[in-house]
């Protein structure tokens, strides 16, 4: 028995140890991952971010180097502080404070000492840098916008946050990622792939050498340059026209779906969101909750389209065979149904389709709309047929363009009214506002522009997109796929004639541009806001939809000006100017241009927040800007409205 004590103890210890080792090395063990090994330093080599060009090859976004002065406190040797401070343009106190801060963070690890030197300071400092042990210069790459326009399209880049890192392990703390615009849509193409070096370090965090002689190291792959569909000249002109107004302009090339301009006003200079002041400026823009410069009105503003929507009803009426272009309806300053009446503006007489469109007669379209719905046994069936036709124009849902923000809009169908009133408990007249683009219909400017493109194309469209070319790559095939509407080609001509007559003898008669056959449609949308919890009506939005030239459209456009009152007043003028600028390159209607540039809506926007009672629409006076040409370009500053009260 006595022989067994040591014998069994040895065996027991052996078993316990193997069990412990099993626990440490097998059980309590996730697969070895080089990236999680903190004995290996991962050094990233960032490739050049791709450039962004406009459709005519004009460089819009490039990169600029930025130089940070770094410090490793432990390696700092006694230095001529006075000279060093002079070079860095800091005081002796700053030096002490920054050094202490860096030392407090870590004596062994590098900290940023002075961030983002100017190129000039860098040039001077670089030559003397070797005199200052423990300091070195680290180069970083920032975006360099060659233009002050298109902030909403070009977007910006910023440091990744923890949520992104958790979802996309490619990104590490401090990496830059697209935050808005094409920077985010084409992030993967633009950024390239960063290279990585694995470096063995010791327990004092010092580098010893490459891990396994660098067999796992990779080289960076440079980012791809992209060409976007924006015409920067047109974009610039549009932004100029939209100054002192709020709203959006979307112009599309109908034959391809390429977005020619995408304007949201007010906007800002994209250079504001670069470098040291990005965060400060972004906060300022973000906090401007009245003008909302970060809100893209071209993509996100969702409103009842008003009259431009009427042409869709005309097309559906023709397609369904319930009306011919010659059918006439009487208008008695409105359309009466039951004991109610849908008003119409001051024209009188009998309208056929052409007159209905160019005079924008509400009664005419109320009749057409009723015929469409009532063609079927129940209003529900009719409603669904109507809804399908409308949706085939890309309305009522996300269009699928390649920018990350947007709104679906809204096109009602039978279920919409079933939910509101109950099944079979509603009639066509309940939905009559749809006839004139009010009621349950909501659209965004880009949807309207796309609708105009589809009409101009006589029945088809390409999904609008911002990407034109990617270096050594192809663009998504969905942007090259044709979408047909449910309307046959033959039905478009009478409607297009009506839209052409809007310019010839209708609501846009004064907006004609010599030498260009423009088809358009004005729109005016009532709108409301809540002020201190009270629903208040504001001046109508001015809307205009157009394409030109009539027979071979090169541009389709939707303009939307908040509180601009009637359609041809602001939106119509701007649309005509944009079309002329794009097709001719010069402006012949300088009178119209002058009018737009000298008229501001700022007082209209500040009115509701002035605290005083105010009037809308016809009872307002326009604000005129004198000597606008002498005023400095305010686009480089953030304009905070007078009423803005933080």
């Amino acid at each position: 028995m006595r022989k067994l004590l040591l014998f069994s103890t040895v065996l027991l210890v052996g078993i316990i140890f193997i069990a412990r080792l099993f626990y440490l090395q097998i059980y309590n063990q996730t697969a070895y991952n080089l990236f999680e090994d903190n004995a290996i330093r991962k050094v990233y080599d960032y490739p050049k971010r791709g450039y962004v060009y406009d459709r005519n090859g004009i460089l819009l976004v490039a990169n600029q180097p930025s130089y940070d002065v770094m410090v490793i406190p432990r390696e700092v040797e006694p230095l001529d502080t006075l000279e060093f401070c002079e070079l860095l343009k800091i005081t002796k106190e700053d030096f002490t404070r920054l050094y202490d801060k860096a030392y407090h963070y870590s004596p062994r690890l590098p900290s940023v000492f002075v961030p983002q030197l100017s190129k000039k300071d860098y040039a001077i400092l670089q030559e003397k840098m070797r005199k200052f042990e423990g300091f070195y210069i680290q180069k970083r790459s920032l975006r360099d916008y060659q233009t002050s326009i298109g902030a909403n399209v070009l977007g910006d880049i910023g440091e990744v946050n923890n949520a992104i890192i958790a979802k996309q392990p490619y990104y590490k703390m401090g990496d830059l990622i697209g935050k808005q615009g094409v920077e985010i849509s084409y992030e993967e193409e633009l950024r390239g792939v960063k290279g990585i070096k694995f470096i063995q370090k010791d327990r004092f965090n010092r580098n010893i050498g490459p891990y396994k002689d660098g067999i796992y190291d990779t080289l960076p792959q440079p980012g791809k340059d992209i060409t976007i569909t924006i015409d920067s000249k047109l974009q610039e002109y549009g932004e100029l026209l939209m100054k002192h107004k709020r709203g959006g302009i979307i112009a599309i090339e109908p034959s391809s779906g390429e977005i020619l301009t995408m304007i949201s006003s007010p906007t800002y200079n994209p250079n504001l969101l670069v470098g040291r002041n990005r965060s400060k400026n972004f906060t300022k823009l973000y906090l401007d909750t009245l003008a909302k410069p970060l809100y893209d009105r071209g993509l996100q503003a969702m409103y009842p389209p008003g009259s431009p929507f009427k042409v869709i009803n005309a097309l559906i009426g023709l397609q369904e065979g319930v009306v011919t272009p010659r059918d006439r309806f009487t208008c008695n300053h409105g359309y009466s149904y039951g004991n109610r009446k849908m008003g119409c503006h001051g024209h009188s007489g009998i309208s056929d389709m052409d007159i209905g469109i160019y005079k924008s007669c509400n009664s005419y379209f109320a009749n057409v709309y009723r015929r469409i719905i009532d063609k079927y046994e129940t209003p529900a069936q009719g409603m669904d047929v109507w809804s399908n036709h409308v949706k085939s124009f890309g309305l009522g849902d996300y269009l699928g363009y390649d920018l990350r923000i947007g709104q679906p809009g809204k096109i009602p169908d039978a279920s919409t009214y079933d939910r509101a009133y109950g099944k079979k408990r509603w009639y066509t007249t309940f939905t009559l506002s749809n006839a004139i683009g009010q009621g349950e219909v909501l659209t965004t400017p880009i949807q309207l522009a796309n609708m105009a493109a589809a009409i101009g194309n006589r029945g088809y469209f390409y999904t609008p997109h911002i990407i034109k070319k990617i270096e050594n790559d192809t663009i998504d095939s969905k942007y090259l796929t044709l979408h047909n509407t449910t309307i046959d080609k033959v039905h478009f001509e009478p409607v297009i004639q009506g839209m052409f007559d809007v310019y010839n003898k209708g609501t846009a008669q004064t907006l004609q541009v010599p030498g260009i056959e423009i088809c358009g449609k004005t729109g005016t949308a009532e709108n409301f806001t809540k002020i201190d919890g009270v629903k208040t009506q504001l001046t109508d939005h001015s809307i205009f939809v157009a394409f030109a030239p009539k027979d071979d459209p090169k541009i389709a456009i939707a303009v939307f000006v908040e509180n601009g009152y009637w359609g041809s007043r602001f939106a119509g003028r701007i649309a005509s100017l944009m079309i002329e600028k794009y097709l001719k390159g010069t402006i012949s209607r300088t009178d119209m241009e002058n009018w737009i540039l000298t008229h501001s809506l700022e007082n209209e926007y500040s009115k509701p927040y002035s605290g005083k009672p105010f009037q809308i629409n016809g009872h307002t006076t326009l604000q005129v800007i004198e000597n606008y040409r002498d005023k400095p370009d305010s686009n480089n500053d953030i304009t905070i409205p007078q009423t803005w009260n933080p």
């Binding site: 006595r2 022989k3 004590l5 040591l6 014998f7 103890t9 040895v10 065996l11 210890v13 052996g14 316990i16 140890f17 193997i18 412990r20 080792l21 099993f22 440490l24 090395q25 097998i26 309590n28 063990q29 697969a31 070895y32 090994d37 004995a39 290996i40 063995q200 370090k201 010791d202 327990r203 010893i208 050498g209 891990y211 396994k212």
Partner: protein
């Protein structure tokens, strides 16, 4: 007597196990100590180069040990023991202080650590004394004499501030038990360990209550007629007294770093600031060691490929923490192999010891097995976080000439004795 085939009489299983451990140990020392590329295995500026030289010298040493007449070791046991004691005592005058312990002689550029040689000397003396016909371990007088043989070198080493090496002398308990001391010592030993841990972990009062519950419970449960209650009460008093003593020893006698190791092991420290401070000192070593072992997984990262080993994340990795290199680079396969090799070596020595005809050889063999076992248990147990930190090397594995030679002499004297067993009668 035949003089031929002398080679066959050596126990080649033991020798092969020894060679594998030394060879594998050297590979790991190389991994743990190399800086950059290895160009010269005999680079005397690097631990692995020096260790290779130590190993060569060890082989010469083995030849010498094996060619000396077996009887020499028994006959000169006392002399060797005395020389060893003198060399230990001499440290107080000529010793060189390294890391707070005065355990080294500096000879030229080399250092020698006599405590590593005292182990085999003490083993010889213990074997000689126990195998003396006049010694009977059942008697207290002989027990005290034997303990004195161990106590003198242990005390000298403790006075030189090398508490780790002192603990090793506890391994002789296994020898005494095998050679016939009373069962009660084993029981007392176990109770002492249990009481120590309980007192430190839960405090004196709970330990006392627990002891009272157990002792009085046993007394009333197994009560024989007329059994006095005086006996259990005395035992209880001793237990409580011991508990107090342990507590006071811990609080007032132990040095702060020793206290930290125990408090860490028993998870006594609750103060976050203190824990934070420990994390950077003693717990740091342990954490890094466990992390290195853990990161090896099943098959390890490969020889010379351990990232934490290459980065020198584990302090003292080529000496006391060498096992963590095995863990990182050779994985569970490697560590298990090392554990199995040690267990096999120790069991083989035990088996051989039991088969000895002479009591001297048997006792000595037992001493060898016990010392190797205690070293192995404490070292690997510490590196994998099962046992409080005690700075003693892993036999045959850790870097260091004195340690390697001490263990080699210890083992090969036994192999020589074993080879001579057919000459015994």
């Amino acid at each position: 007597m035949h003089r031929e085939n002398i080679g066959l009489r050596f126990d080649w299983i033991t020798i092969i196990l020894f060679l594998i451990l030394v060879g594998f140990g050297w590979l790991n020392i190389m991994s743990a100590s190399h800086m950059g590329d290895i160009t010269n295995y005999f680079d005397m500026d690097q631990p692995y180069g020096k260790q290779l030289m130590f190993i060569m010298m060890t082989l010469a040493l083995i030849v010498i040990i094996l060619s000396i007449e077996a009887k020499f070791y028994e006959r000169f046991a006392s002399v060797i023991y005395l020389v060893s004691l003198i060399s230990l005592a001499g440290l107080f005058v000529f010793g060189k202080n390294v890391n707070g312990a005065t355990s080294w002689y500096g000879i030229g550029g080399m250092t020698l650590q006599p405590s590593e040689f005292a182990k085999f000397a003490t083993s010889l003396a213990v074997a000689k004394h126990i195998s003396d016909l006049q010694t009977n371990l059942k008697f207290l007088k002989d027990q005290l004499k034997t303990i004195a043989i161990i106590f003198i070198p242990a005390l000298l080493i403790l006075l030189q501030n090398d508490a780790g090496s002192t603990i090793v002398y506890a391994s002789f308990f296994f020898v005494f038990y095998r050679e016939g001391i009373q069962q009660i010592y084993l029981i007392i030993g176990v109770i002492i360990m249990l009481l120590s841990v309980l007192s430190l972990k839960f405090g004196v009062l709970p330990t006392s209550l627990f002891s009272a519950l157990v002792i009085l419970g046993l007394y009333f449960y197994k009560r024989k007629k007329q059994a006095s209650i005086l006996m259990p009460l005395t035992i209880l008093a001793l237990c409580i007294g011991f508990s107090f003593a342990v507590r006071n020893f811990y609080d007032h006698v132990l040095k702060p770093h020793q206290k930290d190791r125990i408090s860490l092991w028993l998870r006594l420290e609750k103060d976050p600031d203190k824990l934070e401070q420990m994390k950077r000192t003693i717990l740091y070593n342990l954490n890094e060691s466990e992390k290195a072992i853990s990161s090896g997984g099943l098959t390890g990262k490969g020889f010379l490929q351990g990232t934490r080993t290459t980065g020198k994340f584990v302090p003292e990795q080529h000496t006391d923490y060498i096992f963590s290199t095995v863990g990182e680079e050779w994985g569970f396969a490697g560590t298990t192999m090392v554990v199995v090799l040690f267990v096999a070596l120790i069991l083989r020595i035990l088996y051989l010891a039991e088969s000895q005809k002479s009591q001297f050889s048997r006792v000595y063999g037992y001493c060898v097995a016990s010392i190797l076992f205690v070293h192995f248990t404490i070292n690997t147990g510490m590196v994998m976080g099962l046992i409080p930190t005690v700075g003693i090397p892993l036999p045959f594995f850790s870097y260091g000439g004195s340690g390697l030679w001490g263990f080699t002499i210890l083992l090969f004297i036994f192999i020589k004795l074993d080879s001579n067993k057919i000459n015994e009668w």
